[in-house]
Symmetry: C2
Subunit: 477 residues, 2 copies
């Protein structure tokens, strides 16, 4: 199979190496718990193993796969390890990965309906399914003036929401004329960093995002929001956008969406609800209260790529009225005009997002929903939530530790009683052991460790081992 | 293998279905020329074959694969068909698709160096390789103050360039304070629609993007640019950003980058060069003049996902100075702080892009460069360019047809002599035949057909068959 300066990979070769890669991945998943969860390499360690220059002649695929094992794997932080408890999860599954493989091989662009009708229609359809699966308001379905679209991330969804809000607030003039008003946006101090990033990108300035005070459970205080809006109005500024969070990154706090929503209606502010990870829990009826008040929201997003076995990227973004979004993002050059588009009968998703090109991401989401069934996905959520609750009980029962926030869904924030330095040292030792990976946050001005249960392979024994390790390391401090 | 409400796909099942999907793709590529290139379905045809509700219990993978064949494939426009000559190509290859498969299965997040060092370091390294491969200025290498990053698309690269420019022009104050100046951006009338979209998103307003007149070969007139800048300054506005295009979407026209660059230096404007597809041709020394003047650019982008066998998405974006970009896009919440980041020794690519999360896209690009070698990639470019030239010769020699623009690289713009209505009818009949897929543009106020040669499997016989079909259909008009 040696051949220099190849023009193509032959069909036989693809079949052969495709099987090898599939087996390599299956082996990897079987053994992923044996690797240090967080890569133990130092800056520059990977690069110094790579040749200075690219090869003039082609190499054999075998050499690539060998280098993946020898150079890349030691440089990975293993997000699919059952001992990965850091950040929020980004869990994957066989059906999802095979959906991604198919999408890559088909290589279609879904920028316009005409450039691959199935890519657009499957996306619309599966996003309608998800409205039912999560008990979202019907106004987010494509049958009315609203609808859903897959974005790469909640960051992009938040930006799109903010752009649509900006357009509506400016009487649909901002797209053409620029920001002519002293616009002000709002989110809680606990909101995700992407809200600040969106305000910066959109040209509002991060300083015109008000970070509203949170209560003792880290949820936005609606009374403080009302006050901030009033003060801004008095000062001649123009409030236009509120981002409420269902499940903050630090502690999974849930903002009072109903109360915020009523205020937004009254004040005519765009309400975006960011439920990036936590929204997935609404698969289960017992968690559906997370979405209380959502019927008052103008837009919403949730990430199957976090906690629904769908590999990144797959953020589902919904709007109740697509017009301001399209107005903000549509540009129609001659070379993209098509007959179906001009008929008004079809969706062209390029106008619902920042980039023009788009992959066939609905395929993997469709595969996941069908392969696991709604019941299977629900079971995964329940398993993770039960494990996190058990962990929280262990923490509560241990005199050396305290919960740092009310345990919520699959996340437990906790700290050792001996203060920040001890907690920092504890975290550092845990992660450099390679046996687990946790991350931290600051709550009430003090460091807290976060343990989030969300990987596909995580079982009770992994959570228990993590807790035993935490206690052992803490004892040795 | 029937099991309801699955929690996981077993390793054996993944190996089995992985092989099936690999074989399915190999079969698909072998037969892709037999499908109508553009999907022949009508709006709604795909959706009406999909069940109203998602399944409560899991389904067998076999059922998914069957539905891909029966429901999805007829709804695809086959971008990988050798008879696809529309838009710009988005060619894929075996090694790229297998790289994507690995990236999906590893499921790592490259948002921070620490969240997978190999993901960041391989990206930096391969983007440095590409600087050498395309003969780009050394200032785009990561060894100095600049460097490269993979974006999803040239649209996002253009937006990032504009945001960095906006930050620099505002004395690094726009990120926090918002747009306080009457900023004006420039591109030619032939520039990609994403420049207008970026101006809208960034809050400048699309009306503050000046579309500068192009010459008879559709390249930006540097004298008109100079005049526009002067007029805006006189009117009290603040010119800050120019997007020059190397290879416009309509006709692959190349703006005079050297001349524009000198003007930008003199006027202290940020120069971004968008070489989305055409830049790949610089793999070949005989096309490297495309990059003349690039040493004057502040940023640059080129898309391996268009013409370098790397499946979408993979846009390579470079800056000569990373500081304004990082200033525009960095937000650092507590939960993302890591020791390596604070050491200043590593790159955290989340600060180089709009979203936070990111896939391990460098893997597929690394695979492509190594498997084909630089010589193999160069050969692909030369093959496509030669085929397009031959097609242009056939057009020139036919009294019924005229070239609509100078043939450039792998694109030929042409038209039938009988005017717009005839050309529209010709295009409609060609595409609805399913035998080829071409798109159109408007040049000099008249419709033109575009034939772009760029798919991996396209050979001389396909281009010849396309020409024979075009002539036959034209004869029947």
């Amino acid at each position: 199979m040696v051949e220099h300066s190849r023009r193509e990979m032959s069909s036989e070769e693809f079949r052969h190496w495709g099987r090898e890669v599939v087996d390599w991945l299956a082996d990897y998943w079987e053994q992923v718990d044996r690797y240090p969860v967080q890569s133990q390499l130092s800056p520059g360690d990977v690069r110094c193993m790579l040749p200075e220059s690219p090869p003039e002649d082609g190499e054999q695929f075998e050499a690539l796969l060998r280098d993946v094992q020898e150079i890349i794997v030691p440089g990975l932080t293993h997000w699919q390890s059952p001992n990965f408890f850091a950040f929020f999860p980004a869990n994957v599954s066989g059906p999802s990965v095979l959906g991604e493989l198919l999408a890559a091989g088909l290589g279609v662009q879904g920028m316009l309906w005409a450039t691959s009708p199935a890519c657009t229609e499957l996306e619309t359809h599966v996003l309608d399914w998800l409205v039912d699966m999560l008990g979202l308001p019907r106004r987010f379905k494509s049958s009315g003036p609203g609808g859903g679209v897959i974005q790469d991330s909640a960051s992009s969804a938040t930006l799109c929401a903010l752009l649509a809000a900006r357009e509506r607030a400016s009487g649909m003039r901002c797209r053409d004329e620029g920001i002519g008003l002293p616009l002000v946006a709002y989110a809680s101090t606990q909101a995700h960093s992407s809200v600040e990033k969106a305000a910066a990108i959109a040209g509002l300035g991060a300083g015109n995002l008000r970070l509203v005070q949170a209560d003792e459970e880290f949820a936005m205080r609606a009374d403080c929001l009302a006050q901030a809006v009033e003060e801004d109005r008095k000062a001649g500024r123009v409030p236009f956008f509120v981002c409420a969070t269902v499940g903050t990154t630090s502690s999974l706090a849930v903002d009072p969406v109903s109360e915020i929503g009523r205020l937004c209606r009254r004040e005519r502010l765009w309400l975006h609800v960011d439920a990036a990870m936590a929204g997935i829990a609404a698969l289960c009826p017992e968690h559906r209260h997370l979405h209380d008040g959502l019927e008052l929201a103008d837009s919403y997003c949730v990430n199957p790529h976090k906690w629904m076995l769908t590999n990144f990227d797959c953020d589902c973004f919904y709007v109740a009225d697509r017009e301001p979004l399209l107005r903000a993002l549509t540009v129609l050059p001659e070379y993209l005009r098509t007959v179906p588009s001009e008929s008004g009968q079809v969706i062209d998703y390029r106008d619902w997002q920042i980039p023009l090109g788009r992959r066939f991401r609905a395929l993997k989401l469709w595969f996941v929903i069908r392969y696991f069934g709604v019941a299977g996905l629900r079971r995964l959520v329940r398993t993770h939530v039960a494990l996190a609750r058990e962990f929280a009980d262990w923490v509560s029962a241990d005199p050396d530790f305290r919960l740092a926030a009310p345990p919520a869904l699959n996340l437990v924030c906790f700290r050792h009683v001996r203060g920040d330095a001890a907690n920092r040292e504890l975290l550092e030792r845990l992660n450099s052991s390679g046996q687990v990976y946790l991350t931290h946050t600051v709550l009430d001005g003090a460091l807290a460790l976060r343990l989030c249960v969300g990987q596909a392979q995580t079982e009770r024994r992994h959570v228990l081992a993590a807790w035993e390790l935490i206690r052992a390391v803490a004892d040795g401090l």
